[in-house]
Structure formats: C-alpha cells, structure tokens
C-alpha cells in the first residue's frame, strides 16, 4: 500500500512540474491561439539564470539568494519573452497560422544554442535551496521542496485565474482573446496586452525553471525540450487555453506515467515493461481527444484565459 501511495505522490510531483510549465503554454494559447513552442526554452533560461545567481551569491543565506535568483531569472525571462513576441510572432500576426509555429521552433533552436554558447555543454549541478528533509505520509516519503512545488503550482494557477477573471488587465486579455479587432475598437491596446501575456507567461517559466532544476538538482541547456513537449501534452490533455485544465492535465499525465511505469510490468506479466510508460500517457491523450477534442475541460469557455 505504501508503495502505491508513493507512486501517487511521485505522479503528483511530476504532474505539478508539468503543470507549472503547461500554464505558460495555455496562457499564450488562450489569448492568441498560438502555441509558443519556445516556452520550454524560456523555462531552461530561467533555470540557468537562477543557477548562476545562486552560485555567484554562494555563502549568503538561502532565504536571500533564492528570492534574488528568482527575481533575476524572472527579469531575464520576461525580457526574453517580450523579445520573442516582438521579433518572431508580432510580424506574423496576420500570416497563416503555420508561420508562427515554424518561427516558434526556430526560436527554440536559437535559444538552445545560445544557452549552449553562454553556459556550455556541461550539466550543472543545482545547489539545494531547501534543507533536504523528508516527510512521511502513510509510509511514503516526500521532500519539503516537492511539497513547495505542488503548492506553488496550485497557487500560480489560482493567481492566474484571478488575474484573468478579476482584473482590468484580465478583462482586456479576455477581450483580445475573443475578438482582437473589436477589442481594439473598444480602446484596448492589443499589442500591449499580448506583450503583457508573454511577459507574464515568461515570469511563470522562470518560476518553473527554478523549481524543476532544484527538484532534480540538475540544469542543462537541453532540459527545456522534453519538458516543453510533455507540458504541451499536459495542456492539450486538460484543454489548452484553460488554466485549470493545464493543472488537471499535468497532474493526470504525471500520475498516469508514474503508475504506468510502476505497474505495467507486473500487470502484463513482464510482456510490457517500464519503457512503455509513455504509451499509457499517450493512449489516454488519444482517447481523450477522440471523445473530447477540446481536452478534458476545454469546453467550459468561461474559464478560459
């Protein structure tokens, strides 16, 4: 039993990590209907900047370095996000939908290689940002940092929902999402709103980057790619464009992967092993898309960012 609970916790942690990244995808998609494939790379840049700030300030207490690192990472990521939108997406806003998708992939490759030039090809060990104390829940273990990750993912989702639903900026975002020309006629500066969306999404990426790297204590210029792909899957699973859907999709994907890897071998009598863990996740994705093409909770448009 404790093994089962441990697998659920593993899935919850992994899922929250996917959700942290998926929120950024879903936010941009909700406003612009554009999939920002460079988002994974922005997460990576956030992790790298945070890592180097923490290393540069080594010796100072953690409650000083981590906020500073987060601030620096968020700052850099926001600048990167703003620039990406200006350079790669804005000129193509009236172009066919395929065009910005291609530039997104281009930006992603450029960022990856820039990061390789700046920070090198080596893996970087991420210093611990919280004391590594383990907590026991029904015989399963979870670290403090993992609890923080789950909480932050939930808080960020709630915060974003509030921002979109309750603030002036949020209302402008929803208006832009619904019909950009009309929103513009009503006095919404849609360029500003879209820039703001990217900047906020990139700040989230910085948080995600710090959390992911701290959890696995590893940072690498290549880390954004797989993470981005999985997070995108999570966002689609939950219903892309829907903030709660990103959270749900992420957690679901994490739990499916973890239970799949944990039990598939025993269930099939060794016929399938843990190398098929992704198959389960993608089976579920295909199933969901066949029966609910807009994702699990994608149709409740009202909640859409």
């Amino acid at each position: 039993m404790d093994i089962f609970i441990q697998q659920i916790i593993n899935g919850l942690v992994l899922g929250s990590i996917y959700a942290l990244v998926a929120l950024g995808y879903t936010m941009v998609y909700g406003i612009m209907g554009l999939i920002n494939f460079a988002h994974g790379e922005v997460v990576m840049i956030g992790a790298m900047v945070a890592l180097f700030v923490i290393k540069a300030l080594a010796g100072l207490p953690v409650f000083v370095t981590v906020p500073l690192a987060l601030a620096a990472a968020a700052g850099v990521c926001m600048a990167v996000g703003f620039t990406i939108e200006r350079v790669a997406y804005r000129p193509l806003r009236r172009a066919p939908k395929l065009a910005p998708l291609i530039t997104a992939i281009g930006v992603s490759i450029i960022l990856q290689n820039l990061a390789m030039l700046i920070w090198g090809r080596n893996y970087h060990a991420f210093p611990p940002i919280l004391p590594t104390s383990d907590h026991e829940i029904f015989g399963a273990t979870i670290t403090s940092l993992q609890i923080v990750i789950i909480v932050i993912a939930a808080l960020m989702m709630a915060g974003l929902t509030l921002l979109v639903q309750r603030t002036r900026l949020g209302r402008a975002m929803r208006a832009t999402s619904e019909n950009p020309p009309i929103a513009q006629l009503m006095g919404v500066n849609i360029n500003q709103i879209i820039s703001a969306t990217f900047v906020i999404g990139s700040a989230l990426a910085a948080v995600a980057g710090l959390m992911v790297s701290a959890n696995y204590s590893i940072a690498h210029y290549y880390m954004g790619f797989m993470l981005g792909l999985k997070a995108f899957t999570a966002a689609v699973l939950g219903g892309i464009g829907n903030l709660a859907g990103a959270m749900l999709g992420g957690v679901l994907l994490g739990i499916i992967e973890s239970l799949g890897a944990g039990y598939i071998g025993d269930l099939t009598g060794g016929f399938l092993g843990s190398h098929y863990q992704d198959i389960f996740a993608f089976f579920v994705l295909i199933g969901v898309l066949i029966f609910r093409p807009s994702g699990l909770i994608g149709e409740r448009v009202a909640e859409r960012a």
């Binding site: 893996y123 060990a125 464009g241 843990s274 093409p293």
Partner: protein, 420 residues
C-alpha cells in the same frame, strides 16, 4: 476564431516537432556528392605537392545531453593531431599535414549515418569515433563499404566488432568483458543477493545491462526486476519506487552520467538503501556533481586502468588539462585511437586507407592508456576493467580485474582471476 478545439494541424506539428527533436540542426548535406569541400584531399598518388593533407574524421555528439563527453573526445583528437603536426610527419616521402574533420552525430543513430556518409563523401583517410555504440554500429557499415578504417575510443557494445567488418577497431574493452566483471562484483564483493537492473534502451546501456545480468546470475544473484528509462529522462521516481518494493540490495544502471547522477539522488530521497553500481558511462566527475552527497559509497567501473596507473596517464592529464580543462571520460582513449591510426600509416608508409588498413590489425603500440594490440575481430586484446567507489566526493580506485590475460572478447571465459 478562438474555439478551443485542437486543430489536427496542431497535432501534426507536435508530431513533426518530436521528429525534429531527433534530428534537428545539422542539415543533411550528405545528399550532394561533395567534390567541392574536399579541395586538398588529393590522394597520395600525385606527388608534385611537397605537402599532403590527410583528413581524419572524428564523430561524437557535440550537441544534446552528451555534448560534454563529445567535446572531450574531440579535444583529445585535436590534441593528438596538433602534437603530430607540430612534430612534423613524413610518410611515403611526402610531408604530411593532418587535418581533423569534426562532425556532430547528436548521439542519434540516424544522424550518425548521415555524418558518416558525409565523411565518406569528403574522402577522409580514416575515422576516429563515434562516441556512442548506438551511432558507431550503423555508421561502421558505411565506413566498411567505403574501405575507411574506423577506430572508436569509447563504443563498447560487442556488436560493433562482431559484424565481420575489417575496418572496425576499438581501443577499449567491450561490454561483454565489462558486464561480466560488473555482474560478478555486484553478486560477490557488494553482497548483492537480489539486484535490480535499469538501462536507458540505447545500444550501449541495453548491451551492458544484458551482459551484467548474465554475469550476476552466473555468480548466484537473483534479478529482482528489470526496469527501463531513456537517455533524456530526469525523473526516475516511478521505477525506483517499484524497485524499492522488490527490496533489491544492488541497483545497476546501464547508461550515462546525466541520468545516473539524478537517479542516485532520487534513490536517496525515496529512502532506498540499496547500493548503486554503474558502468563507464556513469564513471565521471559529473556523476558525483549531479548526485551530490548521495553519491558517497556508490560504485562504477571503467575499462582499462585508472588514469594515474596508465603508462602515460600523468603526462597526458597535465597536457590535456592545461589546454582544455578537466578530462571528462574517454579523452585518453580517443587520443590513443588517433595515435594508433597514424602509427599504422607510418608502418605502411602510406596514408591510403587500403594500404594502411592491414597494418592496424598488426598494431603493437604503447599508448597512453595501455599497450594496444588487436585481436582478429578488432577488439582490444586483454582489456582490463577497473572498479571505483566514491569516497569523500571523489572516485577512488578499488581494484582491477583481468587485463594481463589476453581473453578473446566474445567468448567470455569463466574464471577471470580477480587480482586484489
């Protein structure tokens, strides 16, 4: 316009992206039979020129998760070539200038064959590499068909030399030797009654894990479970939790340091008490950095003897670190691979592949790593395996198994006297 419906186009793009991920960047230029980029590659015959440029191809992943190891290999090849050029080389009465042709295979078998074709088209005189078994094996067919000698410093999967290609050589012990030693070590010295095995599904990781399994079972251990991951993964909590439920004494990982490090760390945070053992891919300083305190007391193995016990280890280390920084892993072997290739050219008195290829098989060369001789398959004769354990944040040498006995690789002789 903004219905949240997922257009099929989006999904197609995702699929396309996944494909791009496997083969991004490097444009497949190989299609065009290149005459142009080989201006100086005059075959040895027309000798009005006083100086002949000899191209040596080198392939390793320079991008992607193993880029740090690939660059290390390339630096070693470059160092060997720079040293030989500085000394001045004369073969067949002509002055020889060696030129390194570095290529990036991204540790991807598909990309490996693309760059191999590129080197064949560029008419290189020989190839050093590739780094990974998974890329070396498919590429070796192309080199064989073109008659280009290939010496790998790090591809340890036995298949590489078992295909019957006269052009394939390696200067490192193969995984049959290594896996067997590791399996016995886990069962005996580490007192592993039940062992769990994880591999990364690459030709290297899977091959080594298979040989490990054979060795461990032969030595009396029980296999608790066999789990799998991939060479880009960072999260191993699910498979480790399963292993925890099977109560294994030893966990063996067939794969590289980038996964082995975080895996060890996650073992600890899941409260797994089992000892961790890995092969040469995880036997790096990087592993200790990534695993942190959890690395203490864990084990790894490396073909050959430790750097400070290598015949030319110290001198090589000094020269290499001064130029390129800390040695990652395979640098001395790649250096030797270049030296063996050029040594064979000297003995054949020719830089033509067809002429010097037979000489490689007859190599008897005192390299940095060991005295290098090949068996009839192209495997290193009498490859030794050394075991290491982390102590105070450093890999500490434990013992060397085999070495002096020139055991034919694939036959796996039974008692391989363990020297303490």
């Amino acid at each position: 316009m903004h219905t949240p419906r997922i257009s099929s186009m989006t999904l197609t793009m995702t699929a396309a992206l996944a494909l791009i991920g496997c083969s991004q960047k490097e444009e497949p230029k190989a299609a065009a039979p290149t005459a142009a980029p080989a201006p100086a590659a005059a075959p040895a015959a027309p000798a009005p020129k006083p100086e002949i440029t000899v191209k040596i191809g080198h392939v390793a992943p320079l991008t992607g998760p193993q880029a740090h190891l690939g660059k290390d290999n390339e630096n070693a090849a470059r160092m060997a070539i720079d040293e030989l050029n500085a000394k001045g080389l004369e073969i067949g009465g002509a002055k020889i200038k060696l030129e390194l042709v570095p290529e990036d295979d991204q540790a991807d078998p598909k990309q490996g064959t693309i760059v191999a074709q590129k080197l064949v088209d560029a008419k290189v005189n020989g190839v050093v590499g590739h780094l990974n078994s998974g890329t070396t094996i498919p590429a070796s067919k192309l080199y064989f068909d073109a008659g280009i000698p290939q010496i790998s410093g790090s591809a340890t999967n036995p298949k590489y030399t078992q295909q019957g290609f006269a052009t394939a050589f390696r200067v490192m012990a193969n995984d049959v030797q290594q896996g067997k030693v590791l399996g016995e070590y886990a069962a005996k010295q580490m007192a592993g009654k039940t062992v769990a095995i994880i591999d990364d599904r690459t030709a290297y990781g899977q091959g080594l894990a298979d040989e490990f399994e054979k060795g461990a079972v032969a030595a009396g251990a029980k296999i608790a479970t066999r789990e799998f991951t991939n060479d880009k993964a960072t999260d191993f909590a699910a498979i480790l939790t399963k292993i925890k439920s099977k109560k294994a004494d030893v966990i063996f990982y067939g794969g590289m340091d980038a996964q082995g490090g975080p895996m060890t760390k996650q073992m600890k945070s899941l409260g797994i008490k089992a000892k961790f053992l890995t092969g040469d891919g995880g036997c790096t300083p990087e592993y200790i950095k990534l695993a942190g305190a959890a690395s203490e007391g864990q084990y790894c193995s490396l073909p050959g003897v430790p750097l400070d016990q290598m015949p030319g280890g110290k001198a090589f280390n000094d020269a290499f670190s001064a130029k390129y920084g800390q040695i990652q892993l395979y640098a001395p072997y790649v250096y030797d691979a270049v030296m063996v290739m050029v040594d064979s050219m000297k003995r054949a008195n020719s830089v033509e592949a067809a002429k010097y290829l037979p000489e490689i098989g007859k190599t008897d060369f005192q390299g940095v790593t060991a005295k290098i001789q090949f068996d009839e398959k192209g495997d290193l004769k009498g490859g030794a395996i050394s075991l290491y354990q982390v102590k105070d944040g450093k890999w500490e040498y434990r013992e060397t198994v085999g070495g002096a006995s020139a055991a034919p690789a694939a036959e796996a002789p039974k008692p391989e006297g363990e020297k303490k």
